[in-house]
Symmetry: D2
Subunit: 324 residues, 4 copies
């Protein structure tokens, strides 16, 4: 489903090369100051243009079409629309017959009986994260003063991020990366057992983002190698502050008042300049595929602001008064 959340409920729509992409947010309180300008910084961070990201530059100018009057929210659903432009659909003509490895071309073709919009990946395009980032801007405002910051901490297994991307670009290849997100100022007790643990809600949103293949909280996979005596975080005072933070700020599925820390694994961009093999529906055999056009060498570069949005949306949806 394209709808997520119980309290802060978002509905996302649009395709890469369709008329528009947008998001409707239900559950925004009335009277919250908000202007189009408030979106621009995060949209810019997500946008293409940085080294290694695709040169397709959309204006990505948000239009607020509902739930907003005179610089503040009204309490009605807030809809933010982005008109698509600068689309070169002819780049994608061959997709219908030769599904690109790593992309949704094949699975979408099967699921939707060949009726899916194939241009630019259609509804499966990473461009949909534009709507997520816009919702994140609103969510960040709602969970203020919680501070959320994400950054790219490694690319292709290396901390020399720039060098690694340069080499991938030279070879027409792409690389994956790891993004770490940290949030401070979260009260104790967010999260709703049994199913809506903080980790559950964040991971649900994170895996909706194309290219995410793993997530871990606190020590994460490293905790599997630890003993309990080392992993347990001793509680130090009445605020719940702990001496270590192996838990990444979440105990029993609830925020524990310490820094929330998680990392996501971003796979390498599926579109590469190097020729690949794939099955051709036309000839019914494996053929060589060369993907035309230029693409992100490292989609992970765009992910920090997206993971901040994921975190803010999750916290906004969970931020009920603890005792209802």
């Amino acid at each position: 489903m394209n709808i997520f959340g119980r309290i802060f409920r978002i509905s996302i729509f649009g395709e890469s090369h369709g008329p528009a992409i947008g998001v409707t947010i239900d559950g925004v309180p009335a009277g919250m100051p908000l202007t189009v300008n408030d979106f621009l910084l995060d949209l810019k961070r997500r946008q293409s243009g940085a080294k290694g990201t695709t040169p397709r530059v959309e204006e990505d100018m948000p239009e607020i079409v509902s739930g907003w009057v005179n610089g503040h929210t009204t309490g009605a659903p807030l809809t933010i629309l982005f008109r698509n432009s600068n689309t070169r659909s002819d780049d994608y003509d061959s997709i219908s017959k030769t599904p690109r490895p790593g992309h949704a071309d094949f699975v979408a073709h099967v699921k939707f009986g060949g009726h899916n919009d194939i241009r630019g990946g259609g509804h499966f395009s990473g461009r949909l994260t534009l709507a997520l980032v816009a919702a994140g801007v609103v969510a960040k405002r709602m969970v203020d003063p919680i501070n959320i910051k994400a950054k790219l901490i490694s690319v292709g297994g290396s901390c020399d991020i720039e060098g690694t991307i340069d080499r991938a670009l030279e070879q027409g290849d792409s690389v994956g990366g790891i993004v770490e997100c940290r949030a401070n100022g979260i009260p104790v007790g967010l999260g709703e057992p049994f199913f809506d643990s903080v980790e559950s809600v964040i991971s649900h949103l994170a895996f909706a983002v194309p290219a995410i293949k793993g997530i871990e909280f606190g020590s994460g996979f490293a905790s599997a190698s630890m003993t309990g005596s080392r992993h347990n975080d001793p509680i130090l005072d009445a605020t719940g502050r702990t001496a270590t933070n192996h838990a990444g700020g979440v105990t029993g599925g609830l925020t524990n008042g310490n820094e929330l820390v998680f990392r996501v694994a971003v796979k390498p961009t599926s579109s590469i300049g190097i020729p690949q093999n794939t099955y051709s529906m036309e000839t019914d055999r494996v053929e060589e595929l060369v993907i035309k056009g230029r693409h992100d060498a490292c989609i992970a570069l765009r992910m920090p602001v997206i993971m901040e949005a994921v975190t803010a949306i999750a916290l906004a949806d969970l931020k009920l008064p603890a005792n209802l």
Copy 2:
């Protein structure tokens, strides 16, 4: 919330030392053969008794209290109840004042204003997974002939699982582990974009399980170190079969017909025999805590059947006819 799912909807209730734990499943088709015996194998796999798991042995005998007549389901909600017994509540008297590191004691105390059931961790107890496993048995039946198998692949960073647990037991310590789950026979196209990717739904459920701190699909975190030319899985034929399976059976958030593969990181059991420091609400300072009673040295031992349940429940909820 204690309710999950849209088509196969489960509601979980109960506490470790309360009268009963149970699950109500809405969306089970009518006429499915089912007996109490069908639950016993998976419940046994989850149950305590194995080396390194807590010696508290409940009978864990399911009672089907609704949605079932004469050996088949009726289409009405199926409720499965487990009466608790063999509880030694006095072991837990001190929890109210000295929250155990790694447990939900502190966060639950804050969230519920001190009214939560503290006995055995109450609603936060790993014992709640009993209900999940029961739901998993029903879900496995529903997604048949999909075959789901999970196993523990490492403990404390080692593949010598038995030896590592023995050493932890000797020291009164605990260890974490990694569980891998594989499912075969899944049709192409399960998963509902944007938000309900297969990874989103599985991870949402997986992180509801106490002690899970990370999840990865296919190559997962390793994919962050790869290039696209290596990571992309070449499609070989009209069924979508791929030469490699770095994607772990999921492309664009949808199942791609190849083996579904994911791994979860299980933290070491929080209850250990070694003395630990924690904040005492009674004295308002850090005190030494010794946890009485015996506990699982490696909670990861119980996880394979739980992760199978997670997978089956996710697939049952997503297994709509592709085109609705």
Copy 3:
């Protein structure tokens, strides 16, 4: 689905002649005083025994199996269970072949492929309202000090309720009735546009109750005959008090601070002592059916407490801080 609500979420299960009927409530705040005795008055009001209602008397003793410790709620899901007893299943043996007019026998047979529990109407039995009344008791506590009172205002078109039921009993027939529910002390602004108007949520719940065939708020159907100049309720002061209450306390789908008033139409009990014609699946033709056993002559007698429950549950689910 057998689950309703977003904030105060209830899951209902059970059959008339199965082992138990129950309800799990998610979203009950922690620390609310509650005992088994608190349920008894409303359960008694719903129970059989009054003139014209079925002589089958269940004990209807609630068992609180989760979410409750030492006389207060814990914040975890609250499950209330009612064991069935005093069932005479043999009365219902013929239902499988000769569906009773007015009952769900035929539609349930088709929907569930003949696998539904036919004993006593199974999951379609009015006995399921036991669970609704129990949830209503909890909801009433939560919306306190809102005062909700319902009563039977006519039977068979007459205000001589007792006489009308007597005559129906003499003839082995049944009669319908109208129940009116009024609630006072509701704050202005409950209800969530667009879809979750107060009327929407109340009517959704009311029509889940077997035998309800109509609902109207305020002047209801009579308002269709009015002019605007007469129907409009003039606002008198800053609290929103109106001179008349044709709106029944709801304007624009939101509570307006005046008395909430609605009425439901209850059809006559479908089970009657008079012989009826119905299609026999056995002989493939219309046969005379005589329903054995004794039944409610006027199911509407039970409805006041059920409609109070409906109102309380709706308000509990909507009673968020207005501005979130």
Copy 4:
């Protein structure tokens, strides 16, 4: 909430005088033929212009902004947008201080702390039903060949609909009416017990529509005056056909294969030309209010197509294969 449905899920947004009104539909199958022209007939039926309805004529031209390519749906969310135009906001300047009787002005002011969009009723405007009708067009296509037809059967208590409206117009007053909706060709067994009876889902949607104050199925309120021997519909054959249809096509909350019949009570338009009294927030006392501009004398004239949409949306959401 502005989102409704589980399988056919719609999200509605917009305000009367904001930039646009729209609806996003999640759950539309891929490959369904659909063009802008398909919407025009039903939009026209809803539109103003008929005798007694407001002369404000919007173009109401739908723009499909997502989920659609080359004349067919893609399986991705279908968003339909209507740009507002021809708005005369100055008509509404006084609303902020003198809430109009019968309108949401007062309750919305309280609920949203004065931040709601007051122009034309904002999000509470009947104009929002434009989005509902658009969703209805899609839903009708999905439930084809079910045939749904609604009509206005009385106005102001009279069957002389035209004459009654003429008199109201002359007096600057308004009148209510009753709309009846009938649907044929519905299979047996739609509806999901316990909560999602067909009546529950239809009434939930119907009461989301501004001005609806009552709903009844089949004999409805008249059934409260009947005996069971008269009200029960004898089943005639294996298709479930009944000799009478007092049940209005719904038994036990499920469709029974006979004609679905329901009626809604529509209150008189709240905006009238006759001076009224209301509380003034400015002077803190009751003042005379004269509503400027021209308005529908009988909003019930617009309701038939809206109730068809309600029915189609409800059936589309419930139209799962009976046994899942």
